[in-house]
Symmetry: C2
Subunit: 221 residues, 2 copies
């Protein structure tokens, strides 16, 4: 049993000093990178099932069995179902934010930045966590998570609105009500998550490109 010398690992060099844990030697199977990888696997699997069956209709047993483990294993990595959902939408929102802020900070006219922004945003809506953002209603989160969720979504809306306002200011765009225009644009993009299918007639990129074309036409001066 325990006496079997399964010496599968590489030569274990005795760390000549307490050189921290950065040494590429040390323990082979990684300290906590594995933990993060497992957390990530849980989130991916959960997000996919949430998107398919809905959050409430997906039980923790569903999440666990999809990963071939049992429920308490999941709870070893996450405190609650709410935390899992929140992490999913947080990941989705940070991906969207990276894309949209990247577009906002690049050079060019407002219209050009808008084009880059729509492209990045639309692409995000075809990936698991982005879909999760669109499909998750405020009601499914705990009050605290809901507050953070709303704040993060609001950030995205603000970025979009600021780009539109900048475009109006520099004359490359026009709209009588940038606030409502923002909601309509965001709605068209968010809704992609509801109908996009990976095996559909169009690729992600084609959809994103078309969304850019269609949505900017409504605002171009």
């Amino acid at each position: 049993m325990g006496t079997d010398p399964t010496d599968t690992a590489a030569p274990r060099a005795t760390p000549d000093e307490a050189a921290g844990d950065l040494s590429p030697w040390s323990t082979r199977p990684d300290p906590e990178a594995e933990r993060r990888a497992k957390r990530m696997a849980v989130l991916r699997s959960a997000a996919r099932q949430f998107n398919e069956k809905g959050f409430r209709a997906t039980s923790m047993d569903d999440v666990a069995t999809a990963l071939q483990v049992t429920k308490p294993t999941i709870y070893h990595y996450f405190a609650s179902k709410d935390e899992i959902l929140f992490e999913c939408v947080r990941l989705g929102l940070s991906q969207i934010r990276e894309g949209t802020t990247g577009a906002a900070e690049r050079g060019g006219t407002g219209l050009e930045r808008m084009q880059a922004m729509v492209h990045a945003y639309a692409l995000s809506m075809t990936h698991d966590f982005g879909i999760c953002v669109s499909r998750t209603g405020d009601a499914e989160l705990s009050p605290e998570s809901r507050a953070k969720f709303r704040a993060l979504k609001r950030e995205i809306d603000d970025i979009v609105r600021e780009i539109i306002e900048a475009g109006i200011e520099d004359g490359s765009m026009r709209s009588e009500d940038p606030k409502i225009a923002t909601f309509l644009v965001a709605g068209a993009i968010n809704w992609i998550a509801r109908w996009y299918r990976p095996d559909g007639a169009r690729t992600r990129e084609e959809i994103a490109d078309f969304a850019v074309q269609h949505l900017t036409r409504a605002l171009a001066a």
Copy 2:
């Protein structure tokens, strides 16, 4: 008790013949109109709560107590929670369909019909049952209801797409992919249900008017 002659009704004329039940005399408190009114009250109350808290988070007790009755009373009028949700979305969808088909069948260019269609559709998304349509995911319905729900939604999409295609044909509109354009337009409109608040800065009509202006600009030739 029962001897109290509460003769609140109009003079009860003895029906001189078995003249059916169409006579405006006959029994005062109506035969089944009241039943329909009560069913409708249940649906209204349920829809509002579904929109506010979400379908799964709204219990049948919630629906009942909001109407100052108890659960079995609700089940006297509806067979299941699923039926209630389905009736809500059916009402919402038929309202949308009336508006959009009305627009499709009126005269004028494709663009003009599109304007009328967007206006009616957007208006529907600011009313209880329309909001219900937008917020209800396929996953919350039973398999049978889900199939019907999808078929009805598909009808709406078809109407929108046909208007767009007609507009392209008559030269009043242009788009490289009417199918995806339909989804983007429908998405922008459906999403209204997610952010519209009756006490917001804009009235329903203002929002609908602006949606017309914004969304048709993306497709006008």
